[in-house]
């Protein structure tokens, strides 16, 4: 060995920046690129307004209301917008629908939301554990993957009927239906996320002997978070559906039951009003909570939205 090679190595450390002082300056000056945001593409002022998301949504809503109004006028089966709104106002404020029949809203809503929340609070973690196991273990995959796929393929209405059959007219039936609908959606998305983790990253982790804890937190959970959220979003929407179906067919309370009550009473403005509320509720939940979470989880992968029409100047 040469003289140089036998010299004791100086150990540089983070508290000893002078060691690298000479070379450091040079390398630190390497270009890192312009970090300021690029300019937006330009449209004329009216077109820019038309492109704002809330304007687009407003237009969609107006079209919907116009179609509704048309259907009211054209046939006699569709209650008018005014009727629905005034009916729901009576329902919400607890006023009289005629005689002794009083409006009922908050009690039913509270009860249904409670069942929904309990169902999701059980179903989502259970689905997550199942999904991670299916994704990470070939043995569990062989055992449960097909079963989970079958469960996924069953429509929410089947769960709803089964749950009412097993548990009768109790609060248990809707909760169980939400749980059973949520589990396969979360599980399948999460397991495919685990299987989609790049083998090169697994190799990297192995060569660096990365701790089990970091591998679980950063590689497994970090890498599958977007899939998990997609699954959760689907669990929220389909879970709500099956809750409504159970309450419709097999309950004596809750919002689904209330909608059916008015349907059976031939008060279609009540039925339509409740259905509208269901839609509004799930849309608000999706917009305000789930999509935001999803966007946050995907922020490492922000690609510009591809729009052919905009590329073509339309």
């Amino acid at each position: 060995m040469t003289d140089v090679a036998n010299r004791a190595p100086a150990q540089p450390g983070p508290n000893d920046p002078t060691v690298f002082a000479s070379g450091f300056q040079e390398v630190a000056a390497l270009p890192v690129g312009d970090l300021s945001p690029a300019a937006d593409r330009s449209y004329s002022a009216p077109r820019r307004v038309l492109r704002r998301p809330w304007v687009v949504q407003l237009i969609a809503l107006l079209i919907l209301l116009a179609v509704w109004q048309y259907l009211t006028v054209a046939g006699d089966r569709v209650p008018s917008i005014e009727n629905v709104v005034s009916f729901m106002w009576t329902e919400i404020t607890g006023g009289s629908h005629g005689g002794m029949l009083l409006g009922e809203f908050w009690g039913a809503l509270g009860l249904s939301l409670q069942r929904y929340a309990i169902g999701l609070a059980i179903g989502i973690p259970a689905g997550a554990v199942l999904g991670l196991l299916i994704g990470a273990s070939g043995w569990v995959r062989g055992l449960l993957n097909d079963t989970t796929l079958v469960l996924l393929a069953l429509p929410a209405v089947v769960w709803a009927f089964l749950a009412s059959l097993w548990f009768g007219l109790t609060s248990t039936a809707p909760i169980v239906a939400v749980v059973l609908t949520a589990i396969p959606f979360v599980a399948i998305n999460l397991s495919s996320g685990v299987r989609g983790i790049d083998a090169a990253l697994v190799e990297m982790s192995r060569s660096y002997k990365v701790s089990r804890r970091n591998q679980i937190a950063d590689l497994l959970l970090g890498g599958t978070l977007p899939n998990a959220l997609t699954g959760v979003r689907l669990a929220f929407t389909t879970g709500w559906n099956s809750l409504l179906i159970v309450e419709w067919f097999g309950a004596t309370d809750g919002v689904g039951w209330r909608a059916r009550f008015w349907y059976d009473a031939l008060r279609y403005e009540g039925f339509v009003g409740w259905v509208f509320l269901f839609v509004i509720l799930i849309t608000v939940l999706d917009r305000l909570v789930l999509r935001r979470l999803e966007r946050r989880a995907f922020q490492w992968n922000q690609k510009p939205t591809l729009s052919f029409a905009e590329d073509w100047g339309m």
């Binding site: 190595p9 540089p12 630190a28 890192v32 690129g33 990297m204 660096y208 970091n214 590689l219 490492w300």
Partner: protein, 255 residues
Amino acid sequence: MATVLIENLTKIYPPTITYPHRVQALGGVNMSVTGNVFVAVLGPSGSGKTTLLNIVAGVETPTSGSVRAVHNGVPAQVGYVFQEPRLLPWRTVLNNMLYVQDRKSDRSRREAEFYLTMVGLNEVAHLYPSQLSAGMQQRVGIARAFLVNPDLLLMDEPFSHMDALTGRSLREYLQRVWLHTRKTALFVTHDVSEAVELADRILMLRPGGVVFDDIPIDLPRPRNPDDPAVRSVERDVLRRFDSMEAAVRFGAHAQ
């Protein structure tokens, strides 16, 4: 400082659906590397360089033969700079660094920032890999390898994705850092001048994964690639490389 001992190492990839033939990536490699040396593994594309490093790093298993990479009798901690950056896309640069550390303490954060500064990337510590250029991502990979205080540095053409200017200053920098740490290093490259600039010893691999030549490089450090002495050694190594190519081609014709 690690000792790497490789005996009769072969690696044969089994046939696959798309390529129904066995592929011999390594055909009996023998080498021993010990002490504070920087060894370049030089070979043309497909000569098994990446396979060799993967086996030393323990991410791939040999078909036959033995590989040991030890430090004081225990398996050496490896710092591996891959041919591609291999960063977690969903973690920031800083968190990618912290990923390879056991504990995410203030101290490990300072260490991570220190090595990021070393490769000129402290400013982008909070960006995601997709927001960096390919060269910048590779520099994160280099910082990560030094961060684990490795006994053995494995580098797989770390500069091949960079523009020549960035590659040049990083090579110079790597040389300086290495002179201070003197970690045992296995550096894979197909670039003769890179090998001569950095290495104490060049192992030449020929296609089929066999060591063709083992060339000591006795040049004083730090080395300047424009130095005539470096240039002359480079020409010499290049000639041997050409003779290997010729031998390989002649062998192919003879069969």
